[in-house]
Symmetry: none
Subunit: 189 residues, 4 copies
DNA sequence: CATGAATGAGTGTTCATTCAT
DNA sequence: GATGAATGAACACTCATTCAT
């Protein structure tokens, strides 16, 4: 192998893409992304064959990082409340610590450039969380649609919470708490 | 009426823009919008000086229509529950009846092309609703930010509800009801 | 109509394309063609939706001009020799007078960007000539393939003749005559 | 033989280039040629310093193979007819047996990337054949240009013949014969 | 005021060539 | 010598906007 694909460069591209997608959306130009990543225009395409591939992999990588943040130290044996609380806090903390990734993630999640495949892969990364929701929080444990509804609600409510935290970072504890109250009172079994 | 009058043309442009933004997002080409509105490319720019203007006015007009739908027959003298229920039902019903407008609205609301000014004007259109929220639902009546938080939550939760309804239109009553339960249990005073 | 498509501009584009295709082949850049035609890059595409369209229309227009040059004053009632002679002389004279068009035509005729449709349309323009060949020169009047063989031979031989004339323009009469002798002796009935 | 020696690699590159040039023309990408040759992108350039070099050497090598095919068993002492017939048959048979090489050769012969130098070198490979033409078939034995004219004619006529054979392989004997008749009747002394 | 041709900067992507490994 | 990642100048084509008609 002459020069291995540089993991560093790949990461730089994803980092640059995150920042630009967060700022200007998926219409961020590949040449801008390359420039910000400190590589030549053409190099981007040795790491990601098309812009859509880049966007999809970016979405997957951010979502995976979020899932990992949530599932680390997950208290499997604790009660429903503790486990729900754990997920919520991790989700909100991750968003507050990674506002750029969070913004990019929101832009990508409404984009039609994210494929069915990618969305399926993301669901896989959230499998444990989805299972927990289905078993404990959805109105009807047997109902996939009901679980999806609750899952979408938690995402939407955390997005709102994170927007507020972004606007008033000093009130993070307040918003994290209020958000959880609304969520838990709304969906608790 | 081969050549509609001015106001009709403006409306035709907004209608065409709604459909295209709902379908392909804010990257919809002005020439496509003009074609669908039945006018020449250049004519669009006598009604809206730039594409950003068109997008901003479109957002404002859709949001205003939604606000009007919500506030019509608003039961000012009823109790908090009834008034909240009214708003929620109107919101969800409007979204279910105008899926194209709703989709366009969501695309626009995450776009960076919608200006601070426009967002302020939208808040104005929702002033009555915001006041109701502030006075009845926000944790602290004196706190604007708390009211904004609850307002954003209702929007986010109705978006999720409407997405589910779009996926399973026959379950509209179920989703409208479940969504309201979650919201009301979550935020009731 | 605001400003009608300018026939002059269309002609300028075709002229510029002819010159560049003759020089560098079908890989001539559209931006070079536009520059040589004295228009903006984008304008080219209001006259020809794609580069392939431009190339196909160019081929058709050159071939049509050639067909017209050949068929003008065609002596329908003269004998086979006179008619064959007429076609050959016209073909060679046209090529000698329009060396750029001839070179471009040769480049285009071997290109895979010229569609079946275009080749059919060209055959239509040469219908009379083809008929004459089938009826008088092909070995077997009933055989389309035999006629195509002779038709291809006349083209190939005139190309060679024209190449020689291009190299030694002063010997046009000699080459025109020699070429015809070879052709006529080769294929005469 | 996992890693062929140098000369084999050169041959593999030329073989791959032949196939791709025959298929897609001289715009075949060097990376595609390298891949089909089973070597790395960069390796191609240790054998051929530029793409133009590759194309020129390819043209020369194909033309040389053709010349060799023609001159093998050349009946030097036979009459003009027999010798002419020998050349024609060898030429047509070679083309029918090596359709890919023939197609590549035609693509290359109209390309502006083949240099004056290369064309001169090709003429050298065909020196014996050209001499035969000059001495026996050209209208004026002292005239180089006349010989070149006849040489170009034989090439052009065989190309047409080979195209027809490619379209109807089962009629190879018919076309080889018809083609020769036209040629011989056309140019015989 | 309406029209649509004209503009040219910008887009995602390709590719011959270089050079670090 | 072989490798393939890196380069950046092209490329065909798009599009918001202008302006002659």
């Amino acid at each position: 192998m002459a020069r291995p694909l540089s993991e560093e460069k790949r990461a730089a591209i994803l980092r640059a893409a995150t920042e630009l997608v967060a700022t200007v959306g998926t219409s961020a130009a590949t040449s801008q992304i390359a420039k910000r990543a400190g590589i030549a225009d053409g190099t981007l395409f040795t790491y990601f064959p098309t812009k859509d591939d880049l966007l999809n992999q970016l979405y997957l990588s951010i979502k995976s990082a979020l899932a990992e943040a949530i599932m680390t130290d997950y208290p499997s044996r604790a009660g429903v409340f503790e486990r729900t609380r754990h997920c919520w806090d991790r989700l909100v903390n991750w968003g507050a610590e990674h506002p750029t990734q969070h913004k990019a993630m929101r832009q990508l999640s409404v984009s039609d450039r994210i494929s069915r495949n990618t969305r399926d892969a993301v669901n896989l990364a959230f499998q444990d969380i989805n299972t927990m929701i289905r078993d404990n929080l959805s109105r009807d444990a047997a109902d996939d649609e009901s679980a999806a509804f609750v899952g979408a609600l938690i995402t939407a409510m955390s997005d709102v919470t994170l927007d507020c935290i972004a606007a008033h970072p000093e009130k993070i504890d307040l918003y994290r708490e209020s958000g959880f109250q609304v969520f838990w009172n709304g969906v608790r079994p």
